[in-house]
């Protein structure tokens, strides 16, 4: 029984230490977001055409005007065709 008391005490300490630690840690993350990240977001805003930013980086070499059928689409489809043929060729 003594042993059980000891174990309960340890478990209780763990619970306390753990919950305190988790809360402190994640609270510091909140502070980090509200200070460091917020400042960074102001200092380095996304380029104005934000929703396209991810594409921009890659499409440098594909800068033809969209709207008409882009050669990239053609290339992608023919790539898909090639992939399809490769995968559905002989297997084992």
């Amino acid at each position: 029984m003594d042993n059980m008391q000891q174990q309960f005490f340890e478990a209780g300490t763990l619970m306390l230490a753990g919950m305190v630690f988790v809360f402190v840690f994640l609270s510091m993350l909140i502070i980090f977001i509200n200070t460091v990240l917020a400042r960074l977001a102001i200092k380095f805003p996304d380029p104005i055409v934000a929703p396209l930013s991810r594409t921009n980086r890659k499409s440098k070499s594909h800068s033809k005007p969209h709207g008409e059928i882009s050669p990239a689409v053609v290339a992608a489809i023919s790539g898909a065709v090639k992939r399809y043929r490769t995968q559905h060729g002989k297997d084992k």
Binding site: M4, Q7, F8, E10, A11, G12, L14, M15, A17, G18, M19, F21, V22, F23, F25, L26, S27, M28, L29, I30, F32, I33, N34, V36, L37, L40, A41, K43, F44, P45, D46, A50, S53, R54, R57
Partner: protein, 376 residues
Amino acid sequence: MDSLTKLWLSTGLANFEIGQVVMMLVGCGLLYLAIARNFEPLLLLPMGFGAILTNIPVSGFSEVGGLLHYIYYAGIDTGIFPLIIFMGVGAMTDFGALIANPKTLLLGAAAQFGIFATLFGAIALNYVPGIEFTLKDASAIAIIGGADGPTAIFLASKLAPDLLGAIAVAAYSYMALVPIIQPPIMRALTTLDERKIEMAQLRSVTKIEKIIFPLGVLLMTIFFLPAATPLVGMFCLGNLMRESGVVDRLSSTAQNELINITTIFLGLGVGSKLSAEAFLNVETLGILGLGAVAFSIGTASGVIMAKTMNKFSKIPINPLIGAAGVSAVPMAARVANKVGLEANPHNFLLMHAMGPNVAGVLGSAVAAGVLLALVG
């Protein structure tokens, strides 16, 4: 005829032990849950299959020279497989919703009470005859409340490898049961008016924030909890590969082929720990019971925390999103969304629940680190 005798003696029928038969049925049960019930099939299917294989008499799958032996010792005993999975999960995770509404981190913290309450409960179970959980065992069991598969497997492989099978079964089963376990608790703890609360649209998050965030998380983990850096570090590496935008090849591989390959072997390896000796005892029942308790307490703490925050916050917070703090990404967030829609058909909580949801992943990795540091 000598040959036929030898052949007969080498059959499974001549060598079966009852425990093996039962464990194979357990394996079949896991396959059933995976295939017919769609319970976390990506892990439970290979795991159920591994459970069957490891219990085949004579074949020695999990003995020296056997396939599952190699898989377990190379990938799980070393911790490599769960860490690779965690990297892939990091590469799949979008922290945008969390950064846009950082207060939701508190919800992810509150839900970890499920872990530590379970730890207490596991020790209490030592009153039951036949159950003897050390503090290490109890910690490994408690992490089920984190509702995060790789974290649970990683911690169990370090603290209580013998319980690994039961812990993984419990963790993934309850994660699959989230849509059944959570809603009644959520409804019981909230009023209809609370569930109807609509939340303001999230601000857009810039690229630089998303890039620096994983680095900040890693830095803080290094400062305050190095024991959690394997898990948090690999998670942040995956996330950084995703958000940096300069290594899309690697990010895509981490999210697809690499995580798929690892998942197959992780499942088989975990399944190999489902032997009769390790699984067929009262302790397993205790673990399964504690798992349910852990999820329920975690859900409740998250909801209560959200209720409290809503009372003190100028901007309204729907308490339902607190339940997503247990992680179980993205299931718990979807559940919050669904329960919210029931109360108010215009109430789309999905994006708001993603914040506490991914916060829960960080929270349970931190909790795992605390347990490793203090008990490991």
